[in-house]
C-alpha cells in the first residue's frame, strides 16, 4: 500500500514537473520579480548605505512571502476549472498524496529559485558576510513551509465560492511565524547572537505543516467539488 502511494506521488510529481518544464520561464519570472521588488526599497527609502544592510533580512523575507502569495492563486484554479481536480478526486490515489505532490512541485518551481536568488539580494543590500549561511538555512526551512501552507490556502480559496472567503485570510497569519523567525535569525547571527533556537523553531514549524497541511488541503479540495 505504502509503495503504491509513493508510486502515485512520483507519477503526479512527474506530470506536474513536466507541466512546469513546459513553463520553465516561470521560475525565471519569480526570480526577476523577487529582484525587482527588492530594488523598490532603495528607490522608496533613499539609498543610504548604512540603512540597507539593516533592511536586508526583512526585505528578503517579505518579498519571498509575496512572491509565493502571488503564485498560489494559479496553483489549483486551472485544475479546478478544466475538470482535472474532479479526476484527481476520483482516481484511486488519495487526495492527500496529490496535495503533497502539488506542494512539492510548487516548491521546486518557486521556493528553490527563491532560495537561489536570495544571496543575490543580500548582496545588493550589503548583508554582512556572516549572515549568508543562516540566510540560506532559514530559506531552506521556510520556503517549503510556505509552499505547504499556501497550497492549503489555495485549496481553500477554491471552496471560497461557497462563502468562506475569510478562510484565505488565515494563510498570511499562519505564515507569520516563518517570517518573524526567519528575519530574526538572520538579524541575530549578524549581530553575533546564537540562532539555534530560531532554526529549531522553524524546523518544527516545517515538520508540523508537513503533517497537517496535506490533510487540510485534501479536505478543502474535496469540499470545493461538492
Amino acid at each position: 500500500m505504502g509503495g503504491c502511494r509513493v508510486k502515485t506521488l512520483i507519477l503526479i510529481l512527474r506530470s506536474e514537473i513536466r507541466l512546469a518544464l513546459h513553463q520553465i520561464g516561470d521560475s525565471a519570472i519569480i526570480v526577476l520579480f523577487f529582484i525587482l521588488a527588492a530594488v523598490l526599497f532603495p528607490l522608496g527609502i533613499g539609498p543610504e548605505p548604512k540603512l540597507l544592510p539593516l533592511l536586508a533580512p526583512g526585505v528578503i523575507w517579505i518579498m519571498a512571502l509575496l512572491a509565493a502569495m502571488l503564485s498560489f492563486e494559479r496553483l489549483f484554479t486551472p485544475d479546478y476549472e478544466d475538470g482535472s481536480l474532479e479526476q484527481f478526486a476520483i482516481c484511486p490515489a488519495p487526495l492527500e498524496i496529490i496535495a503533497l505532490a502539488k506542494a512539492t512541485a510548487h516548491w521546486l518551481v518557486t521556493g528553490l529559485p527563491l532560495i537561489i536568488a536570495s544571496p543575490l539580494i543580500a548582496m545588493l543590500y550589503r548583508l554582512p558576510d556572516s549572515g549568508y549561511s543562516v540566510l540560506l538555512t532559514t530559506m531552506a526551512l521556510g520556503t517549503p513551509a510556505i509552499s505547504l501552507i499556501g497550497t492549503a490556502g489555495a485549496a481553500m480559496i477554491l471552496g471560497a465560492r461557497r462563502g468562506g472567503v475569510l478562510l484565505s485570510l488565515l494563510v498570511i497569519p499562519l505564515m507569520l511565524p516563518i517570517l518573524i523567525f526567519g528575519a530574526a535569525a538572520i538579524d541575530a547571527t549578524v549581530s553575533g547572537f546564537p540562532v539555534g533556537q530560531h532554526l529549531m523553531l522553524m524546523g518544527g514549524f516545517l515538520l508540523g505543516s508537513l503533517v497537517i497541511t496535506p490533510l487540510a488541503t485534501a479536505a478543502a479540495l474535496r469540499q470545493s467539488l461538492e
Binding site: I29, L32, L43, G46, P47
Partner: protein
Amino acid sequence: MIKQYANPARFNRLAGTLLPWLAWPAAFLILIGLYFGLFNSPPDYQQGNTVRIMYVHVPSAWMALFIYTFMAVSSAVGLIWKHPLAHLSAQAAAPIGTCFTFICLVTGSLWGKTMWGTWWVWDARLTSVLILFFLYLGFIALHSAFDNPTRGERSSAILGIIGFINVPIIKFSVDWWNTLHQPASVLKMSGPTIHSSMLTPLLIMAVGFTLYFFSLLLLRMKTLMIRRRARALNIAHIHQPGAE
C-alpha cells in the same frame, strides 16, 4: 515593395544574402574602434584612462535605446498591419537589447565606481535605464508566457508600445532633473561638443555595434522563422478530420 520582402520565404532568402555583408563589417569596425579607443586616443584631462570605458558604455547605451525604439516600432507595425514578420523582428530584437542594456549598466557601474566612488546611485538617468532593463525582461517574459504564440506576440507588442514612454525619459532625464550623470555631448540639437580624437572612435564603435545588432537580428529571425515553420508543420495535419 514592403509587401514583397515581408513574405517570410523571400525575407529568409534576403536575410541569408545580407548577413555576411553586415557581420564582417561589424566585426571589422568593432575591432578598429576598440583599437582606437583603447590604445590610440588621448586620455581625458580629468578622468585619465578610465575614460576608455566610454567607448563601450556610450555606444551600448545608444543601442539599448535604439533597439527598444526599433522594438516599439515593429510592435506597432505588427499590431496595425498584422504582419507576423514585424512581431517576429520585435521578438528577435528583445534579447539583444537586453544584453546591450546590461552592458551599459555594468560599464556604467564600473565607471561610476572610479568616478563617483560608488557602484550605483539612484539618480534619474540610472534608474530609468534600470527600468528599461526590466521592461526588456518583461517583454520577453510576457512573450513566452502564452501557450499560443500569436497571443504572446500581440500582448507583448502592446507592452512594448506602452514602455516606449521610458525612452525619451532616459534621453532627457539629464536635462529635466538634476543628475549626477553627464548630459549629452554627442547626440544633441546643437551638434557634438566633444573632441574629434574621441568622437571618431566613438562613432566607429557605434556604427560597428549597429551593424552587429542587425546581423544578430537577421540571424535570430531566421532561427525563429524555422522554429515557427516546424511548429506549423507539426500541427498542419490537425485538419485530417477525425472519426470517420
